[in-house]
Symmetry: C2
Subunit: 478 residues, 2 copies
């Protein structure tokens, strides 16, 4: 294996090399179809096979995560050629690593037997991760192939919905009794071929399986062998329940710098553990989803999804946006009389709506972040609200004056400038008031304040900005 | 210590309790000022002190990360009262945990001696993290108090800019020689009081300090004591250089599920390590910054910053937005003649601009994500471009028809509806073309495609949408 300086470029080099080989493979295929001489065909077939052999070698050398990256970066047709070259015993772990959208394209391409074979190699918690994407018959076959204990684990892992601790849990923990000596533990460990990844601590349980404490592996190393486990173990600091929100575990890992943490049932019995890599994947997925929904996409999209599939993925947000645009359009429609008398209003109104929307989104970003961190209390909410109104009033005055001056310079109408400035101040204050209220209200009603708050604020600042500006203009100018 | 069920609510309970105590403290203070009887004063003073004692107890029981959370959630005045109660030997670690904006308010409040005392308790890599926020004289005093080796570490840690591996690095690693037995290593470890956090592996070096391999602690436990280190160690898989981009290390940790990784200098000598908690903090900070800049904020803002400070933090983006709004306004100005003849255009034009902006942002979200993952190559860029154009043309037809029908129903003018539909198709295709091109162009010129791409696309879709719709209308309708 090479060092990372070579590994990172390697992934990208691999992608380039794979594309190249696939390209040649494609060219040769075309040649074969065109030239019919039997001799020619033989030669071309040989060349083609050589390309595939090199491709396969290259794939076999990749870490599953890197193989997943290659598959995600290839257009569908080439992706399937490459997928066919992946060794059967690596298919399971690679399926785990690819994105949901790409996983669907790969599974579609596999028959039942292949899917069962790929799935059977995985741990039960990993099978549970794949389960929602697998055909029912495949899952039945996989289930039959498991031991009774594994079946119980799989059932348990599948019973927890996404976003809970149970969904992040794995069963690869080492548990020890508290009434043995360190030497016994060390002997027990030495009999294992290797310890599971991310084993930074052993879980200490009593005779009925209840979690009593934790024994960090590092402490094990610096303790005299004759010491009793009960005397060196740490009392259970962080234990979680499988129904708990995954978000809470993630915060605990971030705050307290954990590597693993035990999961217990209601009776306090150890049933699994959560590790830092599961938490990192969870955090990555969460922020990814936030970014996507902020960008107006329903879900992670296969880069090379069909046009139709992509259109459907972007459908919802465009439709919502259309409705809010219709409403804003009708607000303007109310003032068509004023606009036809003073057409400058049409040119200036998008400025008010645009800046208000921008300023409102700044406030909402602040508030949503503070809510996510749990920093907003009944005691400080009013203070925050007052601050945001103050900031927007000041911003309104400053930028409103700039905009007013701009209008005066172009239209030589100082009343128009004054009305524009006034509209900016009011509209920005409206934006701040709504942007500070909406996320809090959504949170109170148990909904995710990050989702949709930005769309709502834009809808309000559009319609509100148009209404305030055109309304003031109708009163004072027309 | 309690279990997490109690700990998490505790943090929020603590915040509530702290606010309550501070509130009473404030009330009592007011009373003291008002009532001048000396007896009354004595009693009130006593009550006040009792509150502070309880507050201090509560603070002492908090994990530094939780104390930081409390401080961040309190308005400035109360924050400083609480900060004065924090024990001097905990100030350093809490300063490390608070956000930059809040850290500044705390440091402003401390004198030189306090700052030196707080800083001296930290590890050298932690001092380097605080250094940019500390006055020069404080850093000089701290520097003087360090051992020569620590000075060297601090100098090295401070020499790497943010965003590099060097800035994430710490020096808490255990390194061993490859020519000793496992037993010798175990004896050496047992002499340590405790091992540094996140020690999942020991770093194996040769006589001149060059990294030769890694010895996972777990393997140490399952190996016979008489085995030579050189025969059980793993060859160096992932080593990093301090000048490397932090992003690359973060990807490696995510892909390969690492807990720690060695950092070597150009001569291959071990100089430090990176741990998963530093990586998690880095990822959190990065996504946080992305969210903030997507929301139009320059930097993380203290929730209770002064109005003026907040205004400055939001300045830049509003100014940029204003410029693009001015341009859009002038584009509309070009067509004032057409609008005054057909005022419906004013009401309909924001629909075209709005939907195009939305659709363009969907495309940009896709592309920026794919770029960040390194999935876009010369080979597939053209395919992607074609797909995005296809999606936007189809979306334009679908939603354009809806919008056209809407316009026909309101204005009973079928030509207007057709022009609107045509404008939607063209405008969405323009949005897709630009949204696919801009991030790629920014990346090529070495700039961050996530930054500013969204502002640029909105500017283009606003002005472009107005221009296309009003232009078509002027040609065909007026």
């Amino acid at each position: 294996m090479a060092d990372l300086d070579e590994i990172r470029p390697n992934v990208h080099d691999s992608l380039r090399r794979v594309s190249e080989l696939l390209h040649r493979h494609g060219l040769v295929e075309n040649l074969v179809h065109r030239q019919d001489g039997p001799r020619q065909e033989l030669v071309e077939n040989l060349v083609q096979k050589l390309h595939l052999v090199e491709l396969q070698k290259l794939l076999d050398a990749q870490h599953p995560a890197d193989a997943a990256y290659l598959l995600e970066s290839l257009p569908l047709e080439q992706r399937l050629v490459v997928w066919d070259l992946v060794k059967a015993d690596r298919e399971g772990e690679i399926l785990l690593e690819v994105s949901d959208a790409v996983r669907a394209t790969l599974i579609e391409h596999m028959d039942e037997k292949e899917l069962v074979a790929a799935t059977e190699q995985l741990d039960t918690d990993e099978i549970a991760d794949l389960a929602p994407d697998l055909p029912r018959e495949v899952m039945q076959d996989v289930f039959k192939s498991l031991s009774p204990e594994e079946r119980e684990q799989l059932r348990s892992a599948m019973s927890y919905p996404e976003g809970t601790v149970g969904a992040l849990m794995d069963f690869d923990m080492i548990s020890i009794r508290d009434d043995v000596t360190v030497e016994v533990v060390l002997r027990y460990l030495r009999r294992l071929d290797e310890m599971p990844d991310h084993t930074d601590q052993l879980f200490v349980v009593n005779y009925s399986g209840q979690l009593k404490g934790l024994l960090p592996v590092n402490r094990l190393l610096v303790t005299a062998p004759e010491t009793l486990v009960a005397t060196v173990m740490q009392p259970e600091l962080f234990k979680h329940h499988p129904q708990e929100k995954a978000q809470d575990v993630a915060s605990a890992f971030e705050r307290y710098d954990l590597v693993s943490a035990p999961v217990v049932d209601d009776g306090g019995r150890l049933i699994g553990r959560v590790t830092v890599n599961a938490v990192m994947d969870y955090i990555r997925e969460e922020t990814d989803n936030d970014m996507l929904s902020a960008g107006g996409l329903l879900a992670q999209e296969d880069l090379f999804a069909s046009v139709w599939r992509s259109v459907r993925n972007r459908w919802t947000w465009l439709a919502i946006n259309l409705v809010t645009a219709f409403i804003a359009s009708r607000v303007i429609g109310l003032f068509e009389g004023s606009i036809s008398k003073l057409v400058a209003l049409a040119a200036l109104m998008p400025i008010v709506a645009g800046i208000s929307g921008n300023s409102g989104n700044q406030t909402i970003t602040m508030i949503v972040r503070a809510l996510a961190l749990g920093q907003i209390t009944a005691a400080n909410a009013r203070k925050l609200f007052a601050k945001e109104i103050g900031v927007s009033a000041l911003n309104g005055l400053i930028w409103g004056s700039v905009v007013g001056l701009f209008a005066f310079l172009i239209y030589h109408n100082w009343q128009l400038g004054v009305v524009l400035t006034g509209a900016m101040v009011l509209s920005l204050m409206l934006a701040a008031a709504m942007a500070a209220t909406i996320p809090l209200a959504m949170q109170k009603r148990g909904r995710d304040p990050a989702q949709g708050a930005s769309v709502m604020i834009t809808a309000i600042t559009d319609s509100g900005g148009f209404f305030i500006f055109l309304g003031l203009a109708t009163i004072f100018l027309v």
